[in-house]
Symmetry: C2
Subunit: 602 residues, 2 copies
């Protein structure tokens, strides 16, 4: 039977066959989570996603959020599903049981969340932000702060957000002007204007806890003078009950291209001089603290993109199997056939599939790294894993969300005219996806992060280790008769990639720094292509071995599909990647040299 | 001062310096249209576009079209601008004066229409369709039909449409089931259901004339049995006044991702047995007749895309010059600078500019071909020009609209979070643009048209001539010291392109036909890249020569901008095109070989 949202067989393939996450149960931390339990958890998540969240996706888009007399309302149908979501204790499923979490492996959370986000991204974003904010409290909070906020946030009783952006401080966070003035009791009076705050104000929870970036009076300019504060919408009394309104006023919400069910608020703090916050972490260390959340959020954004991509792929695939249109090209006199038989539709489907498969693996891989950091007691290994996660972050955020738009656009195309209408879900996926390339650091910022920081951190050693991991998969594939023909293309790509980063590194430390930096986005794209090919070869390798074990007929189809997908990507996409690498190496300076007036329009 | 919609300097560069369209005035047909007159016409169009059409674009998107009790209303603000547009006699500005047209060169119409469409695409689409329908009447109509309809359509008093699609007949027009039954008086009673009819019903004109594809009772199946009929919404009395309602009932309108101001109607013809049409052209020759309109409409769709692309580029460029954010990378301690100084923003702007410049030239070039067909009295030349136009059609429709989405998406990205909001125009451009890849034949259909028909028509001779035209520009550039360094890359690309089409042609006539057909879309993309590079080299060549003439300072900036843009595209984009060509030549069969089940999701 046709599936919805995501291919369960593929999820299980990646989880258990590629990454063997059930082996995590060998560690006491995850001893409760054997394969059967993990399958059950995912099955429950799938039920909730398909039966409850999915039916609210379109109504949520149509109704959107409203702002009247200072009150923000989420789509009416969100209230019920929020209750179900909180009752199921999904929000903190992978958090430490000590703080009220479910203690599951992060990778399992990623799989469950994939289904939730694919079903209704606008909705799940509220709890995603709450989780990130709670993580900040857990990591930097005093005992008092944790006692006051943490449990209620992780249960979903209170929501959380992230207040960074101001009208003149977007990508340049250091330009912010929100001020914190120390009070005699050690609290701070906060005043300023924040914009583009996802979930910044709504009627789904009784309180909203805002981590806020602000500058303490007299602190240095720029990012060095920024501190992090915890600012609740309603103050919390000693006994945990809600106190007075904390002067956090919503002044408006954005009308957007998509993601209509998730409010984007403008907030004014302390207009009446009555907004009080407490310092979270150390003075002037707000940026680095916020980056704890930011990295989680950036990975989450990549995962949001992937979730829309898988939903779009499955929708288009089901449609292509059902929609009858035009004769098969080799039998032009016969009647119409399902459009999945037409080469151009198949081309689009295999492009989509190759990204969806590769990116699912990339995300689960990051999950296993996350989990292994927790289970490892070897400092060297921990260090290595943490660096790997840092390298993966801009790729997950930037590359995945770029590809998401592509995949969603292909889905619209496969539906033809219907795809442009609101009768089918794909146009919404495309609209919803477009913000993902922007928020939590534009993809241009991700590219700079990869190039300027991740490539060279710790003298480039972790990045070389990362490439070594790719080489390992290539080497493992060499002996396999089914996949070894894919090895030369990927090996060439990896070799040329080393050339690319050497060229860029050399330029960056010369007077060609602008030329080098102007190649950051192509570099991110190339890196993503390389990582995708790596994941697909890895998958094909696993599939080829499984085929030797005499699997069931249905599984034979599945495994062969894996091998064909890898073959497509490595043989048909990597040559284009090679072209992109040649372009980067040529490093034409026109981007830098064209004068401002030369862009025209004056 | 910052411009809007399109760069007037660049329009004039392409019109007068690259294509010398004022030379058309040497022919008696266009004797009235010297440079000064053409400039005046464009200036007037620009006034109307900026002052009247542009302010209605956002309101039109927000209000959309409504359907209540069978009545379709366009956005209220469209009525006034429609009057102005008709008063200005823009609809038929380039048509034969004999039928009420303005007799201007087609290229001038393209330039004016670029401004109108950039200002409000939803609005201009109504008259674009009317024009296409009128062209059908002019070409295939009897004297009676012309007398009844033509003048009122070309003046805009009555609107026109195009009724092809049915629920089960989209790309496969031959599957349509609308029936025409001959009456004793020679008219036909029509009955059937049509969907996705742009401008199919509205309250902007007193009558709407529908060219309808239908099958005469007993006619053969498939496209061979399709005839074309003229079906008015209201019948027309002998004296030209409106008669009774012709049983063309709107049953609903689509809710769409964008293009909200242009209605997409479902129409039921003859539900009460009272819908009468007249045959337009010959029995069973409806498809070829419709293709007269279709080719015009396909070129128009490409131009629609281009118009959104230029509007998006100019918007993003203006924003990038104004928006202050982050320090210049070489002066990190200084304050924020306009974001046009940041390499990643420049990279996006130059990508956008290279497409906008190249595609403007491509469209005007097609216009000059169109005009030269009219002025030529050499049959051999006419034949050659007509074939060129046929070759250009799928490139203009398919490649331009693909690139439009890319350009619009870059514009959203440059605006950052603001780009996703309805406060700025770019998210609408992106939403509006997405249908262009679908309607009037999906871009997959365009790719097949290029590969299966245009490459091989008349034994491939016209296509070889077309490539010869590109070679000519390359050869002309060889002697120019400023641009000759761009020659090798483009020459290599052109040579490899020949290899690509030879490989594909060989495969298509072997048992690899499916593999070959699965490369049709990459081929279209490669062809578009090649044509873009050609246009940009041509431009750079003209600019380099102009620089020798000691131009004004502002023009020096402009011409240098042309050269840098060509340099960027040819040095940084063509290497990627080379990669795409290598991919096509490798022609991996995975697209064909993967089983239907192998796509997963079952």
């Amino acid at each position: 039977m046709a599936q919805q949202l995501a291919d369960l067989r593929d999820m299980e393939f990646a989880l258990f066959e590629q990454f063997k996450i059930d082996e995590l149960a060998n560690h006491e931390l995850f001893a409760d989570f054997n394969k059967k339990t993990i399958k059950m958890i995912i099955s429950e998540a799938r039920q909730l996603a398909i039966k409850e969240l999915l039916p609210t996706n379109k109504p949520g888009d149509e109704e959107g959020c409203t702002f009247e007399s200072g009150v923000v309302k989420v789509p009416e149908c969100f209230h019920r599903i929020y209750e179900l979501y909180c009752e199921g204790e999904w929000l903190a499923m992978a958090d430490d049981p000590e703080v009220g979490g479910g203690g599951m492996p992060h990778t399992v959370y990623l799989a469950a969340n994939e289904l939730f986000q694919a079903a209704n991204l606008s909705f799940v974003l509220y709890s995603g932000l709450t989780h990130g904010a709670a993580k900040l409290v857990e990591t930097f909070g005093t005992e008092e702060q944790k006692k006051t906020y943490l449990k209620n946030m992780l249960s979903g009783k209170w929501a959380g957000t992230m207040l960074l952006t101001e009208p003149e401080a977007g990508s340049d966070v250091g330009a912010l002007t929100t001020v914190a003035k120390k009070n005699d009791d050690g609290t701070y009076s906060i005043s300023g204007n924040k914009i583009f705050i996802s979930g910044g104000e709504h009627n789904m929870t009784e309180n909203i806890i805002h981590p806020v970036l602000a500058r303490i009076e007299g602190a240095p300019e720029g990012t060095k003078g920024i501190s992090l504060f915890l600012v609740p919408k309603y103050r919390v009394n000693e006994d945990g009950s809600l106190g007075e309104f904390n002067d956090v006023v919503c002044t408006g919400i954005e009308e957007k291209m998509g993601l209509h069910g998730n409010v984007t608020a403008s907030l004014t703090l302390g207009a009446k001089g009555n907004c009080v916050g407490t310092l979270l972490g150390a003075e002037n260390k707000g940026m680095s603290a916020m980056f704890v959340m930011m990295n989680e959020e950036r990975q989450l954004v990549g995962q949001q993109g992937f979730s829309l991509a898988t939903a779009a792929y499955i929708s288009a695939l089901n449609y292509a199997r059902e929609r009858i249109q035009s004769a098969y090209i080799l039998k032009p006199k016969d009647g119409g056939v399902p459009i999945i038989q037409h080469p151009d539709v198949r081309r689009q489907l295999i492009i989509m599939k190759s990204y969806v498969d590769a990116l699912r693996s990339l995300i689960y891989f990051s999950g296993t790294v996350f989990d292994r950091i927790k289970t490892s007691d070897d400092d060297q290994e921990k260090y290595h894993l943490e660096r790997t996660l840092e390298i993966l972050t801009p790729i997950i955020k930037g590359y995945i969300t770029d590809k998401t738009l592509e995949v969603c656009s292909h889905a619209v195309q496969i539906y033809g005219g219907y795809g442009y209408t609101k009768e089918y879900p794909v146009e919404q996926y495309m609209r919803d996806s477009r913000i993902l390339m922007i928020y939590e650091g534009t993809n241009g910022i991700q590219a700079l992060d990869l190039f300027m920081r991740k490539l060279r951190m710790d003298e480039g050693k972790p990045f070389m280790d990362f490439l070594g991991r790719i080489q390992k998969t290539i080497d493992e594939s060499k002996g396999n008769p089914v996949v070894q023909n894919l090895v030369p293309n990927l090996q060439d790509t990896l070799n040329q990639y080393q050339e690319v980063i050497a060229t860029l590194a050399k330029a960056a430390s010369s007077d060609k720094v602008l030329e080098a930096v102007s190649q950051a986005t192509p570099l991110l794209e190339i890196t993503g292509d390389l990582v995708s090919a790596w994941m697909l070869l890895w998958r094909a390798n696993v599939a080829a071995k499984a085929l030797e074990e005499n699997p069931k007929k249905k599984d034979i189809e599945f495994y062969n599909g894996q091998i064909k997908t890898a073959e497509f990507f490595i043989s048909s996409v990597l040559p284009v990647t090679m072209g992109k690498m040649n372009s980067v190496i040529a490093m034409n300076p026109a981007i830098v040299e064209i004068s401002e007036a030369g862009f025209g329009g004056l």
